[in-house]
């Protein structure tokens, strides 16, 4: 059995009002990729922050390379060889690759100026070890996100890390970039680096993971060899109950009534002559790889981005696409994948967010908002969508991801929207809550709206949609009836390999 490099025993950590970790134990072996999974609030991040010295444990011990350690800050952990790569990259976009790798410990010339030559040379050496060919002098923000992430890995390695913690590393990557990351992870593992891999995307674990540990509600649940445990078992341990179905039973029936017609939408270099129809009661999927133009198409229909040609009709009537406000009035709603930047005013109250797109409805006279009316309207949505919140005046930032998503839905229902475009509605939302979101989408379709669902997760497309449009590099490759297609067929079209279109 390979040697254990890191051993956590009985570690607890409390914050005011919540016990984030409760006597957790966990071990990590040299040269393994160890997945750590659990729902939001399971304590994964807290544990990682303790391992990397950001937090200190209230009780329990951590043995690293056979010795008990207690890191007081992240520098100590890093110098000892424990590196962490956060979901949000900790790099400086305007500096070069090598400057980023050596930031804070730049080699100097005898005159005390930066020794650029040496930095670049050393950077190349480190990048080579990862089989990466990146010019060290290029400015970081000229690189795609995936390469930036590799730079972060390289930076971490330059500290001779023996333990590398990766928190949701694939959340911003495309399929091919993910493959690239995985090959880097394999290289590292073969060199004996121990990797803790945190991810919400359970699907991808099979490509890289040796063992898997499951956490729930701040407690340790189990550790298994990845090959010895089924996906169903993982999910049910994460959630703490059996998840009978991943998707709700679908009762929505597409009607023959066209609610939205999209005709020849074109935007140079982004969207190429796209036409399709959406029917009342239908859930229509948008599938495709990252960068295929799915979100761009949605934003074009919503009037959020300018288009060069094309038109859309709602219930047979033409909609001007000059600005979102006109699309909203026509009954179209777009629920962005970036909830916090584009969906919600996070510093504002729940009630203020629900009425945001239609304040007029609670402002009976002269633009003066009637607070009682506003509260009454919102109370109904909070009950109806089972939004868990202590009050209607709660600041939205303090709600969980699933509840925030429901607030966005409530906002659009309050506008009486007839077409709802969900862009990656379950991204960053934990398994237990996903089902609630699916149920909600199904219910909306059943109640007669038209739903467009953009998703990068094919099982979600297969489980939730009636038809699916497959996009590839801004072109509509295929329109498929979901129950007559397969994930493989969709993938072929998405990769641009499909033969002939059926649109």
């Amino acid at each position: 059995m390979p040697e254990v490099i890191l051993e956590v025993e009985g570690v607890s950590k409390s914050f005011p009002g919540v016990k984030a970790l409760d006597k957790v134990s966990f071990d990590l072996r040299k040269g393994e990729v160890h997945a750590l999974v659990g729902e939001n609030g399971a304590g994964k991040s807290t544990l990682m922050k303790i391992l990397s010295g950001v937090y200190q444990a209230d009780e329990g011990t951590i043995h690293y390379k056979g010795k008990e350690v207690r890191f007081h800050d992240s520098t100590q952990a890093r110098d000892a060889g424990i590196g962490i790569i956060y979901q949000e990259l900790n790099l400086i976009p305007h500096l070069s690759v090598s400057a980023n790798i050596f930031i804070g410990r730049e080699p100097l010339t005898r005159l005390g100026t930066l020794d650029e030559k040496r930095m670049n040379r050393d950077a190349v050496a480190i990048l080579d070890r990862l089989n990466l060919h990146i010019d060290p002098t290029v400015r970081l923000n000229r690189l795609p996100i995936s390469k930036q992430q590799m730079v972060e890995v390289a930076k971490s390695l330059s500290f001779d890390s023996e333990v590398l913690i990766m928190d949701e590393p694939t959340s911003a990557l495309t399929e091919s970039e993910i493959d690239e990351l995985f090959s880097v992870i394999h290289t590292l593992r073969d060199r004996g680096v121990a990797i803790i891999y945190i991810s919400h995307r359970l699907e991808e674990l099979k490509h890289i993971v040796d063992r898997i540990s499951i956490f729930r509600d701040g407690r340790y649940v189990s550790t298994d060899d990845y090959t010895a445990i089924s996906m169903e078992e993982i999910v049910s341990r994460m959630v703490g109950r059996k998840l009978e179905n991943i998707f709700p039973v679908r009762h929505n029936v597409p009607t023959p009534e066209k609610i939205l017609e999209v005709r020849g939408i074109r935007r140079t270099g982004v969207l190429h002559d796209i036409s399709f129809d959406l029917y009342r009661g239908e859930i229509l999927g948008f599938a495709g790889l990252m960068g295929a133009g799915r979100s761009e198409l949605a934003r074009a229909i919503f009037g959020a981005d300018p288009i060069d040609a094309g038109e859309i009709l709602m219930n047979g009537r033409k909609v001007s696409l000059r600005s979102p406000s006109e699309s909203i009035q026509a009954g179209i709603a777009y629920l962005s994948e970036n909830r916090k930047q584009e969906g919600l005013a996070v510093k504002m109250q729940l009630a203020e967010n629900i009425t945001m797109a239609n304040v007029g409805a609670v402002s009976p006279r002269l633009g003066v908002i009637s607070r009682p009316r506003e509260m009454n309207a919102c109370r109904q949505y909070v009950e109806d969508l089972t939004i868990r919140t202590p009050s209607l005046t709660q600041i939205v930032n303090n709600l969980s991801g699933g509840n925030q998503q429901k607030v966005v839905v409530a906002k659009w229902l309050f506008c009486d929207s007839k077409v709802l475009i969900f862009d990656e509605p379950t991204r960053g939302i934990d398994v237990g809550t996903k089902f609630a979101i699916y149920e909600l989408i199904e219910r909306l379709a059943r109640e007669g709206v038209g739903v467009i669902m953009i998703s990068s997760e094919l099982p979600e497309i297969m489980g939730m949609t009636d038809r699916v449009l497959v996009l590839h590099e801004g072109c509509l490759e295929a329109t498929l009836v979901t129950k007559n297609t397969t994930q493989e067929e969709i993938l072929n079209y998405a990769a641009g390999l499909g033969k002939g279109t059926q649109s």
Partner: protein, 335 residues
Amino acid sequence: MSDPQTRRTVDHGPEMAAATGRSGAALDRFLTFGAVVVLFAVFSITAKNFFTMRSILSLALQTSTTTIMGIGVTFTIITAGIDLSIGSVIALTGTVAVMAAIAGVPIWASMFVGLLTGAACGAANGLLITRLKLPPFIATLGMMMVVRGVALTITNANAKPAPEAFGGLGNDTLFRAGPQFPGISYPVLIMIGVALVFHFILKRTRIGRYTYAVGSTEEAARLSGIKVNRVKIINYVFSALLAGLVGIILASRMVTSQPNSAIGYELNAIAASVIGGTSLMGGMGTVGGAVIGSFIIGILTVGLTMQGANYFMQQIVIGLVVIFAVAFDQIRSRR
């Protein structure tokens, strides 16, 4: 992911929520208001004649202009902007109003012309920021110079005496009752009116709601159908309109137009707003906060003067108050 903050507020009842969010802002306001009371008490004890009706009324009069400006700039700061052109707008509106009055335009109409001039400056700021996509700091910095230059040019940099009737607004009082009670000056009444009206606008109307929304998360506001550009322009017009009002009040008090007046006033207004809890990051701030912030500055100025501290000393103290007010906020929000 497992952010303990989030879980805490979701899992527990309203008591917990009360410690966060907007109710936190209420606490802040309570604390800043407490600071006003303490300052007032300290000066009442230490400075002779501070706690007299006459000096309180004079304090209100002196503070009225900062308050009115501070309310205006608060609107722009809530949208995550700034307005540096306030001082210049004050000078130009006063100048234009006085010149109109000299030219024989009725006093009320000349004042109205002044206000329109102010509003036009605000619209220019707003258009530069929304159409040319200039950062508000740059747009209003440029306008600060342009507007000042215009004021100096049209007057040849000379102060001009206004018709005597022009001085009524700035110098007359209401409810005068002998030497004990010299009456409430019109500027003070205007300040109270402005505070009430703009508080109402910010808290109860759609434009106020949109102001917060744009400052909180601009893209989310746009995708909610809010006409972000229009909201911003209106806010810069508010700011310049209130600066224009101050310009007229000052010109009226001096009974002259002074194209060189009000240099640097925008910084006092911003300081007042920030002391009152407005966040330069946008999305946060209140009219009440701006009023309290102005009064903290006002009480310090008057109180220190009466204690014999010179102008330089006052600057040091007020500067420190700005720094520590915001530092205090930062420390509080960190936990």
